[in-house]
Amino acid sequence: MAALATGELTPSERVPTSFQRKVPGGGGSRLAILPGTRPSVRHGQLLLSSGLPSLDCVLGGGLAVGTLLLIEEDTYGIYSSLLFKHFLAEGIVCGHNLFIASAKEEPADILKELPSPFLNTSVSAMEEEEAAMKGKQESMKIAWRYQNIQTLEVTQNTSSKFGHYFDLSKPLASELIQNIGCHGFFLSEETALCPDMNSCNMASGYSRLLHSIQKVIYQEGFDGSIPQKAQRNILRIGIQSLGSVLWGDDICCNENPQNIHSLTRFLYVLRGLLRTSLSACIITIPSHLIQNKAIMERVTNLSDTVVGLESFIGSERETNPLYKDYHGLIHIRQIPRLNSFNCNVSDMKDLAFRLRRKLFVIERLHLPPDLSDTVSRTSKQDLAESTKLLSSGCSAMAIGKKHLDF
């Protein structure tokens, strides 16, 4: 009887029995009820998904609230912008508020290009959609339900799940976007307004952005230090291509830029803002363009999680048969130590990413399987022969000539 009654009660009013289970979010912390988050087993911090479950796994479960994820862009910025969009799309699916800052694209345009989530939850079903025909009826029903139900319902339904898979071929439904509190910061629009801008000797774009973020955090109640009665939510901040020329910074064009400290100073204050608020931030930065490498070292030290992308486009690895399954490598440069002096580094260090038809995934890098003699695949055979050539060395010059002679 009592057990039935507890189902309706809120966790704090629960009848005390001797067999109470410690439920995360049930006891002291009210924060854990927030949609799309889960408490970390390791350090007790709330975790958010980065939008890519495979990346969450590598980063030790997800991004902690109040931390900064820095993405070093790949040469053409293709894959880093995918990561950026996944992070924002995950926020929309979980019902989080967004703050999008860019100097290149209008935030509204970025919103339009976000990928749509796979709502049937199992990954295997998604990988082999045709095979999973029998589950189609149910999945259709779920999808149909999501379209008509209020967003609040959607967040409650999906919040039980942490991290979604996204379909890159479909844009996110605009109904979902409309119900989300979204703040845009487009640098060229902002240049007209804003009063005292020389308050901190930074490049003016950074200073404006900081003030804008600070305003959102304090006015919309994401500030963690002030206790509030109202329903709380997470703010996801996305800043695109920070440090590029469009932000009015010269670190990309000059080895000894005029305001060498403005980017690092910006990051320090931003980190201070994030630490006391219910927010998480993703920043992509064109690190290969920054001339002075000392800046990049300092930027890395000032951010929490740092992930570098290296795409194969344009490099000789693109055609290398060893890498033919992948589109690039991903380097986990830094994982934060939060509330402990020990960080959970995963054993995997060699990671690669791959863009499938619909899905962007991060996998452990492995070499293609060694094919036996019976299998005849031309590229593999070529590869095998070329390695044979290498190993046989100088004495096999004659054989080598035969190969080169056409």
Partner: protein, 267 residues
């Protein structure tokens, strides 16, 4: 506080050494466990501690200290610990409406108006100078977590060195206390200012603890290598080796140290 490390250093909680500058360094790894060690060591020893934390928030240090069996909040309430949280103060300086107060703010330099670290030094001095009534704490201690951050905030290396010098005069010489500062640095770094700072501090300090990641890369059972250089006076020198190298493994609540190549996983 890690008992093994204090044993290696020859420190004891009952009788901490006085008048020393300890330099903590990190190359390609994170040596924050050393900061946590010294913070909890000096708090346990009953010293008055002024902790200037640039890198992390108070709650982070507090939770880690709790793992080591210390409450920073109670230490703060008792007046044993003075904590300056850089992240919070910097934010307050930038976003506050500018009221022209008479005394300079300890973090005034972040606003980039060319002011130096004098405000910060004044803060340290007032925090550590003994109260009029006389309190029961032992020697005062200054701990700074990562001076390299100051360079990122636009302070010139010479200004940082001036700050360290003034702090040494106040803390080490006048108050007969200790100072513990942390820097980052590596040999192949292109950050020349930071290298200059690290070099100058190595020259001044009486004890150096330098943590490095393993040259061969990440390892699950050995997290890094700690070099301890004690610059002792000549009569002590005979007793102990000048430079000791250990490898360490960070565990959940402790750090274990062992001689090179003597990891449990290897043996």
């Amino acid at each position: 506080m890690f008992a093994e490390l204090s044993e290696l250093l020859g420190d004891s909680v009952e009788r901490p050494q006085q008048g020393k500058l300890t330099l903590l360094g990190a190359t390609k790894t994170d040596a924050s466990f050393l900061v946590h060690h010294f913070l909890s060591f000096y708090l346990k020893a009953g010293c008055k501690v002024c902790f200037v934390a640039f890198l992390q928030s108070f709650s982070h240090y507090n939770i880690v200290a709790q793992k080591l069996g210390l409450g920073l909040t109670t230490a703060k309430e008792r007046g044993q610990l003075v904590f300056l949280e850089g992240l919070k103060v910097a934010r307050d300086v930038l976003f506050s409406k500018r009221q022209e107060s008479a005394e300079p703010h300890p973090f005034q330099f972040i606003s980039g108006d060319g002011s130096n670290l004098r405000g910060l030094h004044d803060f340290v001095r007032t925090a550590l100078s003994p109260a009029v009534g006389g309190d029961s704490w032992k020697c005062p201690v200054l701990i700074v977590d990562d001076l390299s951050v100051l360079l990122s905030l636009g302070v010139k290396p010479t200004d940082v060195l001036d700050f360290v010098h003034y702090c040494r005069v106040t803390v080490n010489s006048l108050l007969k206390g200790n100072a513990v500062v942390m820097v980052r640095g590596s040999d192949d770094s292109e950050d020349e200012e930071n290298e200059l700072l690290a070099k100058a501090l190595r020259y001044q300090s009486s004890r150096i603890l330098w943590a490095e990641g393993l040259a061969t890369g990440f390892c699950k059972d050995v997290h890094g290598q700690l070099t301890i250089v004690c610059r002792s006076s000549w009569e002590e020198k005979a007793e102990r080796e000048l430079q000791q190298v250990y490898q360490y493994k960070i565990q959940d609540r402790n750090v274990s140290f062992f001689a090179r190549g003597m990891s449990v996983a290897v043996l």
